[in-house]
């Protein structure tokens, strides 16, 4: 599904390399987790894949179902099936959540040559998906993320994911700022989307999210590279011993 080869990325504004040769393959139907200390390049990887400005790819490639995504505009990547759940969802005063969702759904359909969803079908679908995430009508009516609590913002991200039905989902620190109940809601939302045709890349600093979203593969990222790859037990090892032990062992 998602193939990243020898990806090197630096900041556009300064000569600072952040990713220094990332290799990663996420297969359809699998959940991969990336863990790592602050500053290891996890979020940069998420932003570069989704097409945010400010980064320059100096080497390597990233493909989604064989298509080079690094050459695409952000909206083209989204239409190709890539979705980033933001660590810090952006507040957009003045744009209603419903308008936003509907515009996004139809823009992607249009880009893929599909027919727009009728407003009746859209309403039905959004109500059904929102209900599962305990998002009420009031929250749907409000401007995008504006005045939302941390938990509400993250649930809203998952709602967008559920509506857009992407092939490849990248979750950037989705657990940050969540209490236990919100984490459960968000995880249930993600788990409901797990599907043989869909890949997940879950970026997190802590192991706790992975108790709820069970990964198939766990990677440890440090210094702009994947330094270790293993099964779910690797996450538990981090939880037990911290990153220092693992990274120390790598260096040794």
């Amino acid at each position: 599904m998602l193939e990243i080869r020898n990806l090197h990325v630096k900041l556009e504004e300064e000569d600072k390399a952040i990713l220094k040769g990332v290799d990663l393959t996420v297969e359809a139907g699998k959940v991969h987790a990336i863990m790592g200390p602050n500053g290891s390049g996890k979020s940069t990887l998420a932003y570069v894949l989704s097409g945010r400005d400010g980064y320059e790819v100096t080497d390597g490639s990233a493909t989604l179902e064989g298509k080079d995504i690094l050459e695409m505009e952000p909206e083209e990547r989204a239409a190709a099936g890539l979705f980033l759940a933001f660590q810090y969802p952006v507040e957009i005063p003045g744009v209603g959540n419903m308008t936003f969702l509907r515009t996004a759904v139809n823009a992607q359909r249009k880009a893929r040559g599909e027919e727009e969803m009728s407003s009746g079908d859209f309403l039905k679908l959004v109500r059904e998906k929102a209900k599962a995430l305990k998002i009420d009508a009031e929250m749907l009516k409000r401007p995008v993320n504006t005045g939302f609590s941390g938990g509400e913002k993250k649930r809203n991200e998952i709602l967008q994911m559920a509506m857009l039905e992407p092939k490849m989902c990248i979750l950037d620190e989705t657990d940050s700022g969540l209490d236990v109940d919100a984490m459960k809601l968000v995880s249930d939302g993600v788990n409901a989307l797990r599907d043989a045709g869909r890949g997940f890349l879950v970026i997190t600093h802590y192991q706790r999210l992975l108790n709820h979203i069970q990964p198939d593969v766990v990677h440890i990222m440090a210094g702009g590279r994947i330094v270790r790859t293993g099964g779910p037990e690797l996450a538990l090892e981090v939880e037990e011993n911290g990153y220092a032990d693992i990274l120390g062992a790598e260096v040794a």
Partner: protein, 435 residues
């Protein structure tokens, strides 16, 4: 030796003389003729504005004060759909500033008193004499409004409206154009008796050079709603002045959309004279190109306690367009518990545009709440990326964000249908003016 100020004053008076020499006093009965002559004299004393005047530093008044009118190309008629076409209202049409009876509804059937100024002015006695030129004259201090005085002296037509009860059906006034070089000068006088209500809609490019003054008295407990669309002809010039006097617990909400136009100056002078009055003035302006210059100049006087005023002005500028905002809140010592709010913001779609803002507060009461803010900036890149990351194309994302930026001003329109109409107009403009 003459001082610099004396020289400027002489220049201003010279402009007034020259301008007045080019127009004749409109026909009318005793009261109208007296009011016009009085205005004429006031203008000869005060003179027309020049760039050196404090409130004309950001906007060159030359096109308004010149004796001749700069022609303005007509936008092809098939290019537009009538504004407020879907709204059930009494329609009144002026073409190049001349009342068009054939295209207007029956004034007598409106359920309120509406007359043409041209008719009311011929009468010897008319209630309008208590207002015509009176609010305008009162508002000449502390800041002179000479173009409004010129209007009082020379306007031959307009509407005289008296509302005695709550009126649901809006009165819509369209100012259409036929002649590329016409000048229109219209003067409206509106009185809302206590407890009454009126919605006034205005739309259209007006004329090559358009001047309109409205003097509005909002009686105790009355409500005046005003939604105006200044249309799209690129070369047109418009100067408007809205004078409002609000009584106890009365409401006035005025919103203006300005699209295109070479030069637009909209002035609002309002005085809250009774307690618990509510006054909102808002505007959205969109302009593309160096030939666009739009100016909102507002002066709100709080002269009674527990009144609320809001000024919300948003401008979207691209390719060298210029926006101006000059807004003042004056709070008299007796106007305790005033709640004043003022915001003016410009969205600059590229670096060639200019927003010139002059917010002012002058407060003599000690227990008031007044806030003001003014910003200018580009589209937020984080918001844009967020929308694009969800698959929304860059142009559509920008349009959504521009409309979102304007939303606070549009929220000032109380009627949802009217707000939606304005939103549609703006979306259309954005569609036509892509990067």
């Amino acid at each position: 030796m003459q001082s610099r100020r004396q020289r400027i004053d002489e220049q201003k008076r010279g402009l007034a003389e020259k301008r007045l020499a080019a127009v004749s006093l409109p026909a009318g009965g005793a009261w109208a003729t007296a009011a016009r002559q009085e205005a004429r004299q006031r203008l000869l004393d005060a003179g027309l504005p020049v760039r050196q005047d404090e409130y004309w530093r950001f906007t060159n008044p030359g096109l308004f004060t010149d004796a001749g009118v700069a022609a303005a190309e007509l936008l092809p008629a098939d290019d537009r759909e009538a504004v407020f076409a879907g709204v059930d209202c009494l329609r009144i049409v002026f073409v190049d500033g001349v009342f068009d009876a054939a295209r207007s509804g029956d004034l007598a059937a409106a359920g309120i008193e509406i007359e043409r100024l041209a008719d009311a002015a011929t009468r010897d006695i008319h209630w309008a004499r208590e207002l015509y030129g009176k609010l305008e004259a009162q508002c000449q201090s502390p800041v002179a409004r000479p173009l409004a005085t010129l209007n009082t002296a020379t306007a031959g037509d307009g509407l005289v409206i008296r509302v005695g009860k709550p009126v649901e059906r809006p009165v819509s006034v369209s100012y259409l154009r036929k002649d590329a070089g016409a000048e229109a000068v219209l003067h409206h006088v509106i009185r809302l008796e206590p407890g009454s209500r009126l919605t006034l809609l205005e739309d259209g490019p007006g004329a090559a050079r358009f001047s309109s003054v409205a003097e509005v008295e909002v009686g105790d407990g009355a409500a005046f709603h005003h939604v105006r669309v200044q249309g799209r002809d690129h070369g047109r010039q418009a100067v408007t002045a809205l004078f409002v006097r609000l009584g106890t617990a009365s409401v006035c909400k005025s919103f203006t959309l300005t699209a295109n136009g070479r030069l637009t100056r909209n002035e609002v002078m309002a005085e809250l004279t009774g307690r618990e009055g509510v006054l909102h003035v808002a505007g959205a302006a969109v302009g593309d190109g160096t030939a666009f210059h739009q100016d909102d100049t507002v002066f709100i006087t709080h002269a009674a306690e527990r009144c609320e005023s809001r000024q919300v002005f948003k401008k979207v500028l691209r390719r060298g367009a210029v926006g101006v905002f000059q807004g003042k809140i004056l709070v008299h010592p007796e106007a305790q518990l005033t709640d004043g709010y003022q915001i003016s913001q410009a969205l600059l779609l590229d670096e060639s545009c200019q927003f010139l803002a002059k917010p002012e507060l002058e407060i003599y009461a000690d227990d008031v709440k007044c806030s003001h803010g003014s910003t200018s900036g580009a589209i937020d890149p984080d918001m844009l990326f967020y929308l694009r990351a969800r698959g929304i194309g860059i142009e559509e994302a920008q349009r959504l964000l521009v409309l979102a930026f304007l939303a606070e001003a549009l929220d000032e329109i109380e009627d949802d249908t009217l707000a939606e109409e304005i939103r549609r107009r703006l979306a259309g403009w954005l569609e036509r003016h892509r990067a």
